[in-house]
């Protein structure tokens, strides 16, 4: 079996990215209520863990997750989460890729850890809020969203970024454990994989 990506792998990438993104999208819709905005960074990894853990067991070659990361980044841009997600997605997907490669694509524990690291990409959606706070706020006010903007800013103080990183990581681990449990309970027994 060669190490280059084949047609079959491309299709797996497309399918799992689509599933992950749909899950992601449904969760992010909660973000229109201001208090849920910081929470999406935690909820997405928590629920996304289920499809991702399934995907991780399929990954046997280097590069698949990076492509997934890139695609998710582009989709996040298209759905209005800003272009920072492309950078965070690709960077964290690459790191995750190395973790998976290091473990030989076999260790379940490393997969859970890898999902934790991969989940940190969600902070990409918050970078413009924190680093470009003034212009972001001005834009929201200009659109007539002053009360939304005030509420958002009070939920997103500067010190929230490290908390979000840790939160996303922990949620990613928990999501990974849940995903792994479900995987063992259903998919392994049904011999889907």
């Amino acid at each position: 079996m060669s190490n280059r990506l084949q047609g079959k792998d491309f299709i797996s990438i497309g399918i799992y990215t689509a599933i992950y993104f749909v899950v992601n999208f449904i969760v992010s819709l909660l973000g229109f209520i201001p208090i849920f905005i910081p929470l999406t960074a935690v909820l997405v990894p928590l629920i996304g863990g289920i499809p991702m853990m399934l995907y991780f067991t399929k990954i046997k070659k280097f590069g698949m997750l990076t492509i997934t990361g890139l695609l998710i980044g582009v989709l996040m841009l298209l759905t209005g989460m800003g272009y920072w997600c492309i950078i965070t997605c690709v960077v964290f997907a690459l790191i995750t890729e190395f973790i998976l490669k290091g473990s030989g694509y076999k260790s379940a524990k490393m997969e859970i850890l890898a999902h934790g690291v991969f989940s940190i990409w969600t902070i990409g959606a918050f970078i413009p809020i924190i680093f470009f706070r003034d212009s972001y706020y001005a834009n929201l006010v200009e659109l007539g969203r002053a009360d939304y903007a005030d509420a958002l800013m009070s939920f997103m103080p500067d010190w929230i970024l490290p908390i979000l990183i840790v939160g996303a990581f922990v949620a990613g681990i928990v999501g990974g454990i849940i995903g792994r449990k479900i995987f063992k309970k259903h998919f392994e027994r049904a011999e889907i994989m």
Binding site: F10, G14, I15, G80, L143
Partner: protein, 241 residues
């Protein structure tokens, strides 16, 4: 009745555009409208673009729906939202701003997927020298979104019959009972899809050919220039402001 994202057969009329032009317009709109800096005037001008494209390809119904939605929301935004106080005002604002903010991008994305076939999409991406490691997963993904949503709905219906819903006192079970069947279905469909594509020569070692005739015509160049102008304008605004 199945819905498709990227069309599998060609059914568009009117003036045709190159897939690359459509992609450029899509990204320009997204960057200008959703990408952060939305000065008010700059925001309402690009909102015309989807309407133009709908009219060019004679999609009258879509054009009418888009124009009415956008104008209605615009009127509400100016004449109603500032005068409704408190929580109802806040709710109204969300209801009005969501379509106002997202409808141009959704409209142009709809135009893109409704008038582009998978082959055209791949041909366009190939001309842009984007490697197939990215184009094939992307095409599969677009093919797969409607499937995932369809399965999600169907499984939701089945679960409702069993009384597994948010209010049924079994909320905790929703995650497992909905996700697992959906994932199973998707994995199965995915396997069938990859078998089908392999028989059509996806895994072959040679370069794939494509019979789609795409090329940049005068209308494409015109719109590419508009996109370029919009992006340059946006960048200048970023530098100034």
């Amino acid at each position: 009745m199945t819905s498709e994202l990227l069309a599998s057969k060609k059914n568009n009329t009117g003036i045709q555009f190159d897939p690359r032009t459509k992609m450029a317009v899509l990204f320009t709109l997204v960057i200008i409208i959703l990408g952060g800096s939305f000065q008010t005037t700059l925001y309402y001008t690009p909102a015309l673009l989807p309407l133009l494209f709908f009219l060019f390809s004679k999609m009258w119904k879509s054009a009418a729906i888009y124009a009415v939605t956008f104008l209605a929301c615009l009127c509400l935004q100016f004449f109603a939202v500032p005068y409704v106080p408190g929580i109802p005002g806040y709710l109204l604002m969300i209801i009005v701003l969501l379509p106002l903010y997202f409808s141009p991008s959704i409209a142009i994305a709809y135009y893109f997927v409704a008038t582009t076939t998978v082959s055209e999409f791949i041909a366009g991406m190939e001309r842009l020298h984007i490697p197939r490691q990215i184009t094939i997963p992307m095409a599969v993904m677009f093919r797969f979104f409607p499937t995932v949503m369809e399965e999600w709905k169907a499984i939701g219906d089945a679960m409702k019959m069993r009384g597994i819903r948010l209010r049924g006192g079994k909320a905790g079970a929703i995650l497992e009972y909905r996700f697992v069947p959906m994932l199973m279905c998707c994995v199965k469909i995915g396997e069938e899809l990859s078998a089908a594509s392999l028989t059509r020569g996806l895994g072959g070692p040679v370069k794939r050919t494509n019979i789609c005739k795409i090329g940049l015509h005068i209308q494409d160049i015109l719109f590419l220039l508009i996109c370029l102008a919009g992006l340059v304008f946006q960048i200048i605004l970023w530098i100034i402001g």
